[in-house]
Subunit: 507 residues, 2 copies
């Protein structure tokens, strides 16, 4: 199926990435990321781990039903119930895939699957993953045997994970070479790799594996994932693209979608991207100011190995709209940005757009992203913030008054003091909404430059033993903070507590 | 001097790191980072580029005078004036070092230095850097010749930069090997590497170079630096430390200083560290919540290749002080944290500590870091914020009143409305302080968990064609925002506009 010089991208932002501590996406958000991944033309979208929770089952099912273009994969332990749940979800996809993972103790299960070979084949390509990185000579033999058996059982891709991010590139490349030398039926399968970044080497390990013969890389957008994350999609893809002289390989990724997809994932997961992040950090294509324009121009040619346009970074100013812009102008710009927006959504976004344009005049693409995010992705607002009124200062006792409309449509009010305006507002809100919670993280970033910029607030709260992310943007950061907390609490109310997960290990 | 299995760490956080877009450290801040690097036992601290500005000359001089233990290096182009300025600054160091860099067109200058050989020798070890990465066969020959001549001229270390972050690990390793095969006098010098991270490969390239025979790595804390930054100190060091079975090498770094140094650099530069950053990201040792405690315990053993204590990450809760804690308790905790604090500083920190403890009760190490940062590192307050009073809300026009004490000791007041409380406060402040400026970036992070946490505000403003960072922490984020802007503007006032820099290129 794949030509010799094609590297497939198996993106697991929605599975391993979603396992990042504190990340919690709902079905709508997962769908939106899946659509962005599809636009970027990833070969496989690992949409979740259907057996892990009803929420995951539901979101994998929805993605399988609604996303075309990319193949849709689900993760499953090598137990019948997991494989069944996974198939239930991914069967709706144009190209379904089940990604089975085994620890070494699970090998008898694979025999069981083998007995049911027809069923396995019906489920199309099965992938196998295991964790052999502390491999001594004898363990290597075991790994070869497992791979041989899995391929005999019908696996067309075998995935080699560096689960703990322990491998060094040269060593990992050698391992991939040895697998090709020692697994007799390896020509019937393609080798995939799944590298973790605990030592900062996930991308290098993935690339070395590819030069050693692997033809699929498991990635996450922005390199998110458990602990220090996974190989970053954008780095792997752009390294292969920037150095064709070295790799003689290509991917099918539309790299111009990288910038926006990175922003989307960062926004929805609440996982920030540091300024010096390769490819997608804000500094990646920005040179120190204070050097003459001549120098910058000269440096751009001398020092930039990637044209910013290749990742879809807009050149120059992105200013497009102002308060005189009409509904049509807004719609047309949102179309350009790739938003598939319903008429009802457009109505809400347009109202918010007019309000914002009244306040700050010039509205650029980043403002629009924040607006759409705010008006579109809110969960059902069981509780609505009707009024917020705050006073504070360095010689004042911060005081907040809030009025909230409850599920019964009735307003109720509360006033509270606090250590600051956000604390006061949160105490007042918590006094009205009976969801015990603890604030774990609170961040504000300005959406654009300038003192009149919108502040984008992300909060992470723990409630019902789970983490919920709340987001909101407003030119008033105290208002945005209150709305972000309301957003998180409405999410907590919307989702029934997930059943406790077993302690399981995966790639 | 160096044993065969020792890799030297040449840290350039204060030179290449400080060239990160938007970073601007003053002398005090550079000294504080230099002291932290010394505590971490880096072999070389590249303290700046003395010829680039009087500020850099001054800070390299101060670091050379005050920091012992690590050797102190300065960067210089291969021109007499640069080398002289560099020597003027580093001569005060216990172990001075001049880091000369050449582009290929500069080779005649090296001849000039060679003629003045005694002077070069007096300046001790000279380092040479150049940019040969697009190397074709003929360019390689040229590189070999340059290296040979530089070593003949007295260089005891030659530094091979991948200036544009274009190299792939295996390729870069081969290049280091070829240098050893083709430069006849290479045995008289040690090979250093300086890798940039544009493709996410700086750490892997550095490590591959070391396995190929290099014995020095140029690093930045948190991997900061121009564009996507440099090889990250913590990743390079912990890879070598975690995999002695593979590298058979060591560094002299005290890894338990990594966590605090990372925080310090992030705080002072305003360069955030993403949660999934290897080694120092907040998630690096954090597992997804929602998995049973049993699972976490099991996973910690199974999945963590580094004990968090190895990087100095405190185990368990870091809560230590409350409002009943006395001056002595505070001093003792600050000592434990490694702060060398004067009595006058302690006085100010103690007052701020009491105020904060009154507001939020429990004060942990992160709060103390923020307090010390606020009370200690402020520049001279030409303008002081005396009073701030703000009202805002979702149905209000945000309004701020400020009273500022000017350089003449007289108070003046101003009131402004704005699109939010921060905008209103900033307009009022700008109305009183006549420094035209533009806000480039605005971020708030909570220092600790909980709704009563301090918000740490970082702003970046452009004034006099330069960037200034302002920081402040307070439980009231509007107050912290106002103080952060005042901090940035006082910096702008304190520092005379730096003379425009030429467009120069460096490693």
């Amino acid at each position: 199926m794949t030509s010799e010089d094609k590297v497939l991208i198996f993106d697991t932002t929605l599975r391993d990435g979603e396992q990042s501590p504190g990340v919690a996406l709902n079905v709508e958000e997962k769908l939106e990321i899946a659509r962005a991944l599809e636009r970027m033309r990833v070969d496989f979208i690992e949409a979740g781990f259907p057996a892990s929770s009803p929420g995951d089952l539901e979101s994998v099912t929805q993605i399988a039903k609604q996303v075309r273009g990319s193949a849709i994969a689900g993760l499953a332990r090598a137990v019948q119930a997991d494989v069944d749940a996974c198939w239930e979800a991914v069967q709706h996809a144009e190209h379904p895939r089940i990604h089975v993972f085994l620890s070494s103790s699970d090998i008898h299960i694979m025999h069981q699957l083998e007995r049911d070979k027809e069923r396995v084949l019906e489920m199309a390509r099965t992938m196998v993953a295991f964790s052999p990185m502390d491999a001594t000579r004898s363990e290597l033999e075991y790994v070869y045997r497992m791979l041989t058996e899995c391929i005999d059982a019908g696996a067309t891709t075998v995935n080699i994970p560096d689960t703990v991010g322990y491998a060094i590139p040269e060593e990992f490349g050698d391992f991939i070479r040895k697998i090709q030398e020692n697994v007799s039926n390896i020509h019937k399968a393609s080798i995939s790799v799944h590298c973790h970044n605990d030592l900062g080497l996930a991308v290098a390990n993935s690339l070395t594996a590819v030069t050693a013969g692997a033809r699929q890389i498991e990635t996450c957008m922005n390199g998110i994932g458990e602990r220090a994350g996974n190989a970053s999609l954008e780095e792997v893809v752009m390294a292969i693209k920037t150095r064709p002289d070295y790799f003689h390989l290509s991917t099918s990724i539309d790299s111009t979608q990288i910038h926006r997809t990175s922003r989307l994932v960062s926004q929805l997961t609440g996982m920030s991207v540091q300024p010096n992040k390769a490819i997608v950090g804000v500094n990646a294509f920005r040179h120190q100011s204070g050097i003459h324009q001549h120098g910058i121009t000269k440096m751009r040619q001398t020092y930039e190995i990637i044209d910013p346009a290749e990742i879809g970074l807009p050149h120059g100013t992105t200013l497009v709209l102002n308060k005189n812009s009409g509904r049509h102008g807004l719609k047309s710009r949102l179309d350009d940005l790739g938003y598939e927006i319903t008429t009802a959504e457009l109505d809400r976004v347009f109202v918010a757009f007019k309000e914002l344009a009244d306040k700050k005049g010039e509205i650029d693409d980043r403002d629009l992203d924040a607006l759409v995010s705010g008006e579109r992705r809110t969960v059902e607002e069981v509780y609505k913030l009707d009024l917020l009124q705050v006073s504070c200062g360095n010689q004042a006792i911060p005081t907040a008054t809030v009025r909230i409309i409850g599920p019964d449509g009735r307003p109720s009010e509360s006033t509270s003091t606090g250590t600051g305006p956000v604390d006061a507002a949160y105490r007042a809100i918590n006094g009205l909404i009976g969801v015990p919670n603890q604030l774990l993280e609170y961040t504000v970033n300005s959406v654009t430059e300038g003192i009149d910029a919108q502040g984008e607030v992300t909060v992470r709260v723990e409630a019902h033993d789970r983490t919920f992310v709340g987001r909101s943007a407003d030119t008033d950061i105290v208002v945005a903070s209150a709305k972000a907390l309301m957003n998180a609490l409405n999410r907590a109310i919307a989702q029934a507590p997930r059943e406790p997960q077993e302690a399981w290990s995966n790639p």
